[in-house]
Homo-oligomer: 263 residues x 2
DNA sequence: AACCGTTGGTTCATATATTGAAACGAAACA
DNA sequence: TGTTTCGTTTCAATATATGAACCAACGGTT
């Protein structure tokens, strides 16, 4: 394994739950030698990827990340219009909405728009959180449209159980994926977080490949059948627009059109 | 030089002006071998730091950056390292030092470090005090780097006169701002408090926007030309460090570097 | 105060991962 | 068509990473 990857693995230790850690702790979590981890951390620090608190000696994520993320956002192609679609979906549905993107085996949050808060109960989503492919509506939707190799790769990894309704067997996941494929959208009913229902549809890129998912998360209590259908239509429309903004090919777009007409 | 740093150097090639680049171009810019750069890019890609457009083969900054930056922002530690820079500046200059931040049309004190008291005359600063933009070195420095709308807004407000040398006309202020812009630092000679000379430089945030100023306040009596130049260099260096800690973009940092070299 | 289990950090011989010139096929260009 | 440039692969030479052992310092216990 390359040194670069070993070093960058360190960054993945940091999370909202664990915003800072010391040398020994990092080495333990990675199962590596302190000396190596120290050298890696020093290199990362030199480039501003992490920062060390001179008092506590703990490391935390550094300013270079803010800078680079800013560059990425500023130069992300055609991002603005896509974000607008997500925002509109949040407004129309009145619920928390998030767009996720697939990259290197992971489904990561692209943009999260919190529910327009006019009181009442809403779902909160952590924008830094990675979405498990097997336990979220977004994940199931994506798996239902991606290439087989990608799906197999995802299923090969351990299927962590989050709630009593998390599908943890290959068969259970595949069945959900299959219904999602037929319907054109996925419903995740408390499989990741109890009481939160996700309704998601795949988004496609210019090559016609699945590249992520758009999803609305609602409290289970607030969903009856007509409301559900309403949201499904909104999500499908948003997925169509985002895919279109990314230059998805005609046959993908028209498939959305027939799905929306059916809903 | 460690491999990690060499790999991370690649990320610095990306900028709003150059949001994507190919392998050869990157290798050329870095003066390194294509093969190495390819391996580095592949490693970075595996960790999501860059992404390769499968069509054009060009690389651009990856989703891991957005994710990690989000974690960093959520867990933003009350920036200890920045305070350290201010403290160090106070120590190196031997004078009272303060970092101010712009917010809602006002320049407010972020952190004030009193001069290391080894006797003699020093300037006292009230940490609760708001800094008039037109009459302090910090204010002039900030105005010399902020966007036009902000500057106009500041000039539209009444220009209170504090001492005989307070600039009270729009033209007088603008002239000071212009010299500050050219020099990269501002000197406020008793414009707010007679006998107190401020030397300030703008600090920038991750968006590359001016967000405040760092300043050293000395008694006029204790300043000769060489001492002044000494402090200017220290202030510029501190501004550079603070901006860096806030993730300011490369072109901002390098501007500081040239200014420091000139001083 | 002496002891203990930590911590972050350093050293150096060993072993391993990195390196870069050269070569390749593909694509773009003239 | 030949020419250039591109991304990518290979492999021997070597520069670099590694980790066991060690150190000094800190914070609790006894």
């Amino acid at each position: 394994m390359s040194t670069i990857i070993k070093a960058l693995d360190i960054l993945d230790l940091f999370s909202p739950a664990q915003p800072a850690l010391g040398l020994s702790e990092a080495a333990r979590l990675l199962g590596r030698d302190k000396a190596s981890v120290l050298r890696h951390l020093s290199a990362l620090e030199e480039k501003g990827m992490v920062e060390q608190d001179s008092k506590t000696k703990q490391y935390h994520l550094g300013p270079a990340l803010s800078r680079l993320a800013m560059v990425r956002e500023q130069t992300a192609p055609a991002n603005h219009s896509i974000v607008n679609v997500v925002r509109q979906l949040a407004k129309d549905s009145g619920e928390t909405t998030h767009l996720s993107r697939y990259s290197n085996g992971r489904l990561v949050q692209g943009k999260v728009i919190d529910a327009p808060s006019r009181g009442g109960i809403r779902v909160q989503i952590d924008p830094a959180e990675e979405l498990p492919l097997h336990a979220t509506a977004s994940g199931i939707a994506f798996l239902s449209s991606c290439r087989t190799a990608t799906r197999e790769q995802a299923l090969a990894r351990p299927l962590t159980c989050y709630t009593p309704s998390t599908p943890t067997s290959r068969e259970a996941v595949l069945q959900q994926v299959e219904t999602a494929r037929i319907q054109g959208y996925a419903i995740g009913d408390g499989a990741y977080e109890s009481g939160a229902v996700g309704i998601a549809a795949t988004v496609f890129n210019a090559t016609g490949e699945a590249c992520g998912a758009i999803s609305v998360a609602s409290p289970a209590a607030s969903l009856n059948d007509t409301r559900k259908r309403e949201i499904i239509a909104l999500v499908l429309e948003a997925a169509r627009q985002i895919s279109w903004h990314q230059g998805a090919p005609q046959h993908v777009i028209s498939q959305f059109d027939t799905r929306i007409a059916a809903a």
